[in-house]
């Protein structure tokens, strides 16, 4: 059993006396697709930032490939939710992806043929080759996301982190992005950790789930976590889990304090 790509070990983070993350632990192995599921504002972004080393921990430790996060192993690829790109910025898509290779280098040296080939391959992988010479700020939301994924992947990270990539997308686009990510995981044997507030679209591809609420997390294979007893313990109140046509419904009893139950408690027909 090789070292997990990511180990989150007893992590706690507080903001102004409010505990956002409370003793959160889980790990991600190479080649695994993990979903970080929780409603908006529950702390998913905080957790991602902590993994990236951008958020100080009050307690616990985060290890990437066995080494403590503070050493910045550089084996993390990050795709933020949205990057605002000015259409006037003079940079082509292919140059932006190439920047993922060598942004940390000082000075400039010409890129090798091998590097150019790498960029080309990746652009094809994410189906961005047909607009590779356009300005990076002239893209639609979906196109931009694919380019950001390519940019993150080109440095061959062991773990790809995505912050709410499915938010604000129409159902068809959601399916496309999920399929793309699954393909990427298989092709590049890279681990993926993505945050979302709705888990149903990810059920077909998710290997493991980290379910976050009230600052606490339950993690493991999807079937073992998405169960009434586990989730009830997490929420601190009784919830039922219904599985119907391959989808999940988490339903709280009426009359209880339901504000933290995320959206998969409502029925979406796709």
């Amino acid at each position: 059993m090789s070292t997990p790509v990511l180990e989150v070990d007893g992590v706690s983070v507080s903001f102004a006396a409010r505990k956002i993350l409370d003793d959160v632990s889980f790990s991600v192995n190479r080649g695994e697709f993990t979903g970080l599921i929780g409603s908006n504002g529950v702390g998913k972004t905080t957790l991602l930032r902590a993994i990236l080393g951008l958020q100080r921990l009050d307690d616990g430790e985060i290890r990437v490939n066995g080494a403590p996060q503070s050493q910045r192993s550089g084996s993390l690829g990050y795709v933020p939710q949205k990057v605002i790109l000015d259409p006037d910025v003079p940079m082509r898509v292919r140059d932006f992806v190439a920047l993922g290779l060598d942004a940390q280098r000082y000075g400039f040296s010409r890129r090798t043929k091998q590097q150019h080939a790498l960029v080309e391959d990746l652009l094809n992988d994410v189906d961005a080759a047909h607009f590779a010479d356009n300005r990076v700020g002239s893209l639609s939301g979906g196109e931009q996301q694919r380019v950001l994924i390519a940019h993150a992947l080109i440095s061959q990270p062991s773990l790809l982190l995505l912050d709410e990539p499915l938010a604000n997308l129409d159902p068809k686009s959601v399916q496309e992005v999920v399929a793309l990510l699954h393909h990427v995981v298989v092709e590049h044997h890279v681990a993926v950790l993505l945050s979302a507030h709705e888990m149903n679209a990810l059920l077909p591809v998710m290997d493991r789930i980290v379910y976050l609420t009230n600052g606490r997390a339950a993690s493991g294979p999807t079937d073992e976590v998405i169960r009434s007893d586990v989730l009830s313990a997490l929420y601190g109140q009784h919830v039922d889990v219904l599985k119907l046509h391959g989808r999940v419904l988490v339903v709280a009893e009426p009359g209880q304090d339901n504000k933290d139950i995320p959206e998969h408690s409502t029925l979406t027909v796709t």
Partner: protein, 274 residues
């Protein structure tokens, strides 16, 4: 126009234009409008102060420009677009005016510091200016890729450990260096246009980053040379021509961009139609 006493002007102008083109490229990319206004104002106060106490004006320019740059760095880290930033801008000018009021040649000095002077850089200053220019351009070259990524996608840069705040501070210092040498020639109130107009136009003409940087320098050189020639011939202030030509480049760039969008390649049109 190429007599011996003008050689200084051409040398200084060329150096200044190259630095303004390079640094300006990133000023536009990063949207650093406020530092581009504030640092020259600080430099103005510094030059006025240096004049008062009889020190080399370059020193005054440099010290105050550096101070303004570091001050802005601290202010922007606090994250507020406060009135204090606008007031500090004006305060620097008022300070410079106060310094200059104590010297004998009040009027011509105010004018040349604010609006530029063909012979703003004396022959003894050419070498220090050249060295400073080399330092500025080399710094940009060394940080080239970091500057690019932190300008365009700061969150991704932060996630990669590239420390955008550090890069920003260093870049502000580079702006201070570029300002120090530019103010005597173009004037504190007008160097903003030299650092904005040519680069903003350049990026309308090409998608490729390196080429845009090169064109930015080319436009800045054209602006500077044209302004020096025109100022020499008409005796009018250099700053007037710099401001006007920069505006002209900007308009040209926007016109081209609009024309290109309307008549662009099918690929481009398809993308934009989404």
């Amino acid at each position: 126009m190429f007599s011996s006493f003008m050689v200084n002007a051409w040398q200084a102008g060329t150096i200044v234009a190259v630095v303004a083109g390079v640094v300006g490229f990133f000023v536009v990319l990063r949207g650093s409008a406020f530092p581009a206004h504030a640092i020259p104002n600080g430099a103005f106060a510094g030059a006025a102060g240096a004049n008062l106490i009889g020190v080399n004006p370059l020193v005054g320019l440099g010290v105050f420009a550096l101070g303004a740059a570091l001050g802005i760095g601290r202010l922007s880290r606090r994250g507020r677009a406060d009135a204090v930033t606008a007031l500090a801008l004006v305060m620097m000018l008022a300070l410079g005016a106060a310094f200059l009021s104590q010297s004998v040649e009040y009027e011509p000095q105010i004018f040349s510091l604010l609006f530029g002077e063909i012979l703003g850089v004396s022959s003894s200053q050419i070498l220090p200016v050249f060295v400073l220019a080399v330092v500025c351009v080399l710094s940009v070259a060394v940080l080239y890729r970091r500057l690019l990524l932190t300008s365009i996608a700061p969150e991704i840069a932060a996630a990669r450990g590239l420390r955008p705040e550090r890069v920003e501070t260093i870049f502000l210092v580079i702006i201070a260096g570029a300002t120090t040498m530019t103010v005597p020639v173009v004037g504190a109130l007008l160097i903003f246009t030299l650092m904005i107009g040519p680069p903003a136009a350049a990026r309308c003409f090409t998608n490729r980053t390196g080429l845009a940087l090169f064109v930015s320098v080319a436009f800045a050189l054209a602006t500077m040379w044209g302004s020096l020639a025109a100022a020499f011939l008409t005796n009018w202030p250099v700053g007037f021509f710099v401001g006007t030509f920069s505006f002209g480049w900007f308009v040209l760039g926007r016109l081209y961009a609009t024309w290109h969008r309307a008549h662009g390649s099918p690929k481009v049109r398809v993308v934009l139609a989404q």
